[in-house]
Each structure stands twice: as structure tokens, then as C-alpha cells.
């Protein structure tokens, strides 16, 4: 057995304690001979996880937002915008990734493609809906004071639709970060490695990685939630202070 520079796995720890220990300190792998776990490996995997996610999200936003803006402004393609998101929901991510692995190939580019395809529908639909929800009278007024169509999109419709568009980006980002977990199936390293290689990482590795993934996803959601609020114009925030929970909080009038 080769000499390793890390201690053997601790014994007699509860499942969750063992998983936390896996996260905070290095140990010898289940099969022996290699060091696994600890902050350095997990940070490296987390960084790879985020790189593939961020690249996919950037491409998806660059594609879906302009198309959604244009379709929404013109008021055409409602069927397309709605169908894309319905179909997108029905295709299991594992099946989509498996399809790419079997028919297109493995590697970074293919995983980015899969994640981009996954991210586009919510962004496209939300952008379209957000623009369509802008009061037509507001748009008419903007046209009346002499704004060009491009100015209307950029100065009127886009700011008013920002909360909805951001909602779509948030939904997509959470789905992308979650799905990057199975990227190792296509030979791309991510936090899914300890989960998909139990023969090396064992139960504590799987549970530890699951904890890290859960934390990262919740942080992504919370972070984008804050960004959503920051990007929303002050007027909108003042008008709808309870928008945070994204439920239409129309109060029913008292009857008595």
C-alpha cells in the first residue's frame, strides 16, 4: 500500500458528523492510496461546478433575453414562449444529458450545451410574460411622447419587466447548479464526483458533497434574490413591497 500524507477515515462517527469531517479535513480514500475530501478538493470541485454553470447561464441569458424582449414587444410567439417552457419541463435532465453523451459526445462543451438548453426555457418565458404584462397604456404613452421602439424596450418595458425576467434567471440558475451535479457522467468534474464515485469516496463523501451542493444552491437562490431586488427600480419596489414571495397579494375588500 502506498504511503499517503493524510489520516485514515475516522471511526465511530455518526453519518452527518462523518460527512462534516469529510468536508473540513482530508482523509484516505475508501480503496486506499489517495487523499480525498477536505477544503482544498471540495473548493476545487466547487469552482469547476460554478464555472460550467456560469458559462451555461451566460450563454442562456444572451440568447433567451433578447428573443423574449423582441417577441414580447411585438406581441408575437406566445405559443412558442409557452410551449418551450412546457416541453422543457417534461424532458428529464438526466435523459437530456444521456442523450448528449450517447449521440453527441462528452466533455465541457457538451455539458455547457445541455445546461444552456435547460436554462433557456424559464428565462425566455419569463422575459416574454414580463414584457407582455407591461401596461399597454404605458407603452402607448411612451410612444406618444416620441420614444422610438428601441427606446420603449430599453427605457420602459425592460425596467418594468426586470423583476419577472430576474425570476426566470433565478429559476434557471438553481436548475443549472443542481444539474451540474451529474456533469461527471459526461466526464466533466463537478461536486457530483464524490456522489458518483462511491467506491472512492464512500458514504461520507456522498453525504458531504450533498451538503455542499445544497448550500451552494440555496446561496445561489438567495444571492440572485438579492440581485433581483437591487435591479428592481425604486418605483416598482414602493408599489409592491410584498413582491418578494412572488404571489399576487391582491387583498380582498372587507365586506362588513
Amino acid at each position: 500500500m502506498a504511503e499517503v500524507s493524510c489520516p485514515p477515515p475516522p471511526e465511530n462517527l455518526g453519518a452527518f458528523q462523518d460527512a462534516i469531517d469529510f468536508i473540513v479535513s482530508e482523509r484516505e480514500s475508501v480503496s486506499g492510496g489517495v487523499c480525498i475530501g477536505g477544503p482544498s478538493e471540495l473548493l476545487d470541485l466547487a469552482a469547476r461546478h460554478m464555472v460550467v454553470s456560469v458559462v451555461a447561464m451566460a450563454i442562456a441569458v444572451a440568447i433567451a433575453v433578447p428573443i423574449g424582449l423582441w417577441l414580447g414587444h411585438r406581441g408575437v410567439g406566445e405559443f412558442l414562449a409557452v410551449t418551450v417552457s412546457n416541453v422543457g419541463r417534461a424532458v428529464p435532465t438526466l435523459a437530456l444529458l444521456a442523450f448528449f453523451v450517447a449521440f453527441v459526445g462528452i466533455g465541457f462543451t457538451n455539458v455547457v450545451l445541455v445546461l444552456t438548453l435547460l436554462a433557456i426555457p424559464p428565462i425566455l418565458t419569463n422575459t416574454f410574460v414580463g414584457i407582455r404584462q407591461v401596461d399597454r397604456e404605458t407603452v402607448d404613452a411612451a410612444r406618444g411622447v416620441g420614444l422610438t421602439e428601441t427606446q420603449i424596450i430599453r427605457q420602459v418595458e425592460f425596467p418594468l419587466a426586470t423583476p419577472t425576467i430576474f425570476g426566470g434567471i433565478r429559476t434557471s440558475a438553481v436548475a443549472v447548479v443542481a444539474t451540474a451535479t451529474i456533469a461527471p457522467l459526461a466526464n466533466v468534474q463537478s461536486l457530483g464526483i464524490p456522489i458518483l464515485e462511491p467506491q472512492t469516496y464512500g458514504d461520507p463523501g456522498q453525504l458531504g458533497a450533498a451538503i455542499v451542493i445544497a448550500v451552494i444552491t440555496l446561496a445561489t437562490d438567495a444571492g440572485l434574490g438579492l440581485a433581483q431586488r437591487a435591479a428592481t427600480s425604486k418605483g416598482l419596489k414602493a408599489a409592491e413591497p410584498e413582491k418578494r414571495f412572488s404571489l399576487p397579494l391582491r387583498r380582498r375588500e372587507k365586506t362588513a
Binding site: N86, V91, P92, V174, L247, R252
Partner: protein, 238 residues
């Protein structure tokens, strides 16, 4: 000895070249379709059980939040957090507590349906015009009668829309249930042990993935059909 082995392998390959090459083989699919029956049924079982339990919980929560409106925010926040945790992570977080098997898969999948169903039921109930509720009170209906005979029927389109989203989403997430030992079509896609050649075998990916998509579409159409039957006044409108 080595030569003999190589020769045998060569013959096997020529007989089923397509399968050995992990290709798309209609013959193989026709012969092996029965292998997908059990995973398909497991998938249906996981989906329906999780959505049914999720619906009961979300419906109860929505009725409570309908009476005590301040609870809407906290319930949405909690179900939202459950919805955000990735399914694969949720399965492994539950494993030490509930062990491998259907139970773990169903708990995690149920947790996912809660936000979707709760949000749609609440939105539906909120969308009932105040005048309608007033009118029913004016006719002497009790609170309970107003809820069951006026508010819920009018909220039904939103509720059923939520059910459709929950069903299609759960069919998709259930492809990952094999991580929790819950079987399903995902096991066929992922695992070479399932006797299908796994993720590199085109025929397998097409059949198992296709079945999952078909299943989602079927559930969607069934609810849509139910909606048309349950809401004759909407059909007249459209």
C-alpha cells in the same frame, strides 16, 4: 488461447454489431422492450404517490393560509427552500435518516411538489372575485359552503394547472430516484447493471428517455382532459 478468445469475441460482435457499438438498434429495442416495463411502473408509482401526498399536504397548507393570510409568506419560504435543494442532494441527505428505498425517494419528490401546488392553490383562491364571495354570503352560505361550493370550483383551473406542472416536474425528477434506491427509468439510463448498457448505449437512452417524456406528456393530457370535463363553463367560453 488468446486467439480463440479474440475469435469468439469477433463472432459475437458481428452478430450484434450495432449493440456492441452502443448504437441505435431497432431490432434490439423490439426484443428488449419488456425490460423497461418494471422501471416504467416504478416510475409511475413514484410519481403518483409523491404528487398525491404532496397535494394533500399543499391543499391543507393552502386552506390554512387562506384563513390566516400572514402564514402565506413563511409557508412559501419553507416550501421554496425545499424546492431549491437539488433532488440528488436531497436523496443523499435523507439516506442516513430513512435508508435506501422508495420511502426516501417519495419523501424528497413530495417535498418538491409542495411549492408548486401551494402557490397555485393560493393564487387560485386569491383570484376569486370579492363580489362573488359577497354574493354567496348574501345568499346565506356559511364560510365552509362558500369555500367548497364557490371559491374552490372557481380556483380549479389554477389548481389543475399546478397539478400539471407538479406531475411533469416529478416525472423528470423521478429519473434521479435511483440514487435513493427507488428504481425508475433513471436506473435504466444510468446503470449498465440494469442490463441495458447504460448512458453510452444509444438505444437505451432513446427508449428510457423517450418513455419518461411520454409518461410526462400522458399525465399532462390526462389532467387536461379532466379539466375539460370538470369545467364545462370554461369549455363554452373557449
Amino acid at each position: 488461447m488468446n486467439a480463440l478468445f479474440a475469435a469468439t469475441e469477433l463472432r459475437d460482435r458481428s452478430e450484434s454489431n450495432c449493440v456492441a457499438d452502443d448504437g441505435f438498434c431497432p431490432d434490439w429495442i423490439a426484443e428488449n422492450l419488456h425490460k423497461y416495463m418494471k422501471p416504467l411502473l416504478e416510475h409511475v408509482f413514484l410519481t403518483l404517490t409523491s404528487v398525491a401526498i404532496g397535494f394533500v399536504i399543499a391543499f391543507t397548507l393552502a386552506l390554512i393560509a387562506h384563513r390566516r393570510r400572514w402564514l402565506t409568506g413563511p409557508i412559501t419560504a419553507v416550501t421554496g427552500a425545499l424546492y431549491t435543494v437539488p433532488s440528488v442532494a436531497a436523496f443523499f441527505l435523507l439516506l442516513p435518516i430513512t435508508g435506501r428505498g422508495d420511502k426516501t425517494a417519495i419523501i424528497a419528490l413530495t417535498a418538491y411538489t409542495l411549492l408548486i401546488l401551494f402557490r397555485n392553490i393560493t393564487t387560485g383562491l386569491r383570484g376569486v372575485p370579492a363580489e362573488t364571495v359577497d354574493a354567496s354570503r348574501g345568499m346565506g352560505l356559511t364560510e365552509r359552503q362558500t369555500l367548497w361550493q364557490v371559491e374552490l370550483p372557481l380556483a380549479l383551473p389554477e389548481i389543475l394547472a399546478g397539478l400539471r406542472i407538479a406531475l411533469t416536474t416529478t416525472v423528470g425528477l423521478a429519473t434521479l430516484a435511483f440514487f435513493a434506491g427507488g428504481g425508475g427509468l433513471g436506473e435504466q439510463i444510468y446503470s449498465a447493471n440494469a442490463g441495458t448498457g447504460g448512458i453510452y448505449f444509444q438505444s437505451n437512452v432513446v427508449v428510457a428517455g423517450g418513455l419518461a417524456i411520454l409518461l410526462a406528456a400522458t399525465f399532462d393530457l390526462i389532467v387536461l382532459g379532466g379539466q375539460r370535463l370538470a369545467l364545462p363553463w370554461r369549455r363554452a367560453q373557449a
